[in-house]
Symmetry: C2
Subunit: 333 residues, 2 copies
């Protein structure tokens, strides 16, 4: 099998983790994928990154990467505020795309990118890696099979003290707790309630002086009064767990619920995975080893000529983006 050729946009921490996971020989991505180029806005940073990860080409601009005919798919890991422009550039250059969340800062921009990708028959996905973890797949299966009965409730929170990080607080960079953290609690709500649209969205939250959201609490009301209580914050710690309650029992997904290696149910079901762990470099973020699952699934989909992954579809992304937009509207972003 010929390896799929990746170009990397940005040389930041998450890009380091992604390339590291892609290359981990014990992981599911290494056999079918290779990184052929990296681009950063500063050439020396791209060069250092390329040297660290043994990447043959490096560029001091994203435009140069777009023009590199050897690159088949790009992983975009820069800040949210830049995603729309870079995605558009890459799609116009004929590249498939895996772009870090949030894909854009609005539902209209996100739709526009999906339409452009479809018109060019290119793969485009927002990198919500959670759904590619075997843990999430088992969770989804278990819920669908009625393990906890009818799901009546979800609680999920994601909060970390990162208000010192400019990308989170700057509106210009596409910052905001919603885009960075909130999307994970919304995403698991979609999974748990089988994609049902909430009948009501109630959000209360706070803003940074920039206007970007710092933290929020949300109640989603689904049919029959079933509810999700979601919390996110870039200002303070939350417990970062999720709990799915059904008529028969509940499933607890421990911290970090957004990339978990295990969960257990009150009915005795336990599930645990071992992450790949022979990567050459240290990871920056918790459980980043699991980025390999996402990478492997994306390359498989692209090879099969698909424009999306079934684990996280275009519709999933639109649903989540729509909710982020509604929440942001209610809290005054």
């Amino acid at each position: 099998m010929e390896k799929l050729k990746w170009g990397i946009v940005s040389s930041g921490k998450i890009c380091h983790d992604f390339v590291n996971a892609l290359n981990d020989p014990s992981g599911p991505a290494a056999a079918g994928n290779t990184v052929v180029a990296v681009a950063a806005r500063q050439l020396d940073r791209a060069k250092t990154f390329a040297e660290n990860h043994k990447i043959p080409k490096f560029y001091g601009s994203y435009e140069e990467l777009a023009k590199d005919g050897n690159v088949e798919v790009v992983y975009i890991g820069n800040t949210t505020g830049q995603h729309y422009d870079v995605c558009k550039m890459m799609l116009e250059a004929g590249k498939h795309i895996l772009c870090e969340k949030s894909l854009t800062t609005s539902i209209s921009l996100t739709k526009e990118l999906f339409e452009l990708a479809a018109s060019k028959k290119l793969f485009l996905m927002e990198a919500v890696w959670s759904n590619f973890f075997p843990t999430y797949k088992e969770l989804k299966k278990l819920i669908s099979a009625g393990h906890v009965g009818e799901v009546t409730r979800l609680e999920a929170s994601f909060g970390i003290r990162i208000s010192g990080v400019l990308r989170l607080t700057s509106k210009e960079l596409g910052g905001g707790a919603s885009f960075d953290l909130g999307i994970y609690v919304i995403n698991i709500a979609r999974l748990v309630f089988g994609g049902e649209q909430p009948e009501e969205v109630i959000a209360r939250g706070g803003l940074y002086p920039s206007g970007a959201d710092s933290d929020w609490d949300v109640i989603l009301v689904f049919s029959g009064g079933r509810r999700a209580v979601l919390k996110c914050s870039s200002k303070f710690e939350l417990d970062n767990t999720a709990r799915v309650t059904g008529t028969e029992g509940c499933i607890e997904i421990p911290d970090p619920f957004h990339c978990p290696t295990s969960f257990k149910s009150s009915l005795g079901h336990e599930f645990t995975i071992q992450l790949p762990n022979q990567a050459e470099h240290k990871y920056n973020f918790v459980n980043s080893e699991g980025l390999a699952y996402e990478c492997a699934a994306v390359s498989e989909a692209i090879r099969a000529g698909k424009l999306q992954c079934e684990e996280y579809t275009t519709e999933d992304c639109l649903y989540n983006t729509r909710l982020v937009e509604e929440i942001n509207k209610q809290i005054g972003v």
Copy 2:
């Protein structure tokens, strides 16, 4: 010191625990308190209870207990729906009262009872025992001293699967998750936010077929956008913890947060107590040993001629009742 003479209304589980804690020789209540009579609506139940707890008098009606001139204070532990009538009867008979929560099912009835008690110079308190735990006192002190900085957030939940218990689901018996469980999460919100009134109360919840509330989620918004997220349920388990977040760190109060023996803060403060434990009988409910703290404080207040305890004042009770009423209104009780 002459012992304060208690009469017990009802022979149910909580009354068993209360008398047990009162009599525990290792606890703070035994030295100053004694139980002289018990009344139940069935004479044989009162008799059995009296025999078990070595209580000299037992009655087959509450009226007889009211007429017992030897009884100085009554502990009322029957169902919420009966509280108003029994409290009125006891106040008119000149008894001080410690009545289980919820004191009544509405703010107007609660106010009426407090006015009656005040006019007769009698002590009347809703038995929110949490605040008498040394753990809650230390928690309050720590928060007031600014240990976690300015408090910006509270999360608290109390949910247990007890929908099979008639007293919870019957509206006639004064049932409802709010009255039984919700009051605890509201009570800690008052403590944490220093008694401040929330600027906004947002409640979404469910009802039993009887019309009593089964579960709810509430967001309280305080000045400056500070928030409390409260959950309660008699239908399903919640995590039954509380977390107070401030600008400098957070305090975690473990399950069962409403009667905790310990807590710890992210800033390194840990607090633990040992409950009294030489009672003659087994307790029905978790940490019921701690009822002795409440009993001791009540008898001390009565001896000092006070009409309320500073740990849980009339104003605390009115605040909590007002919020329960607002929540119930919003969810359609």
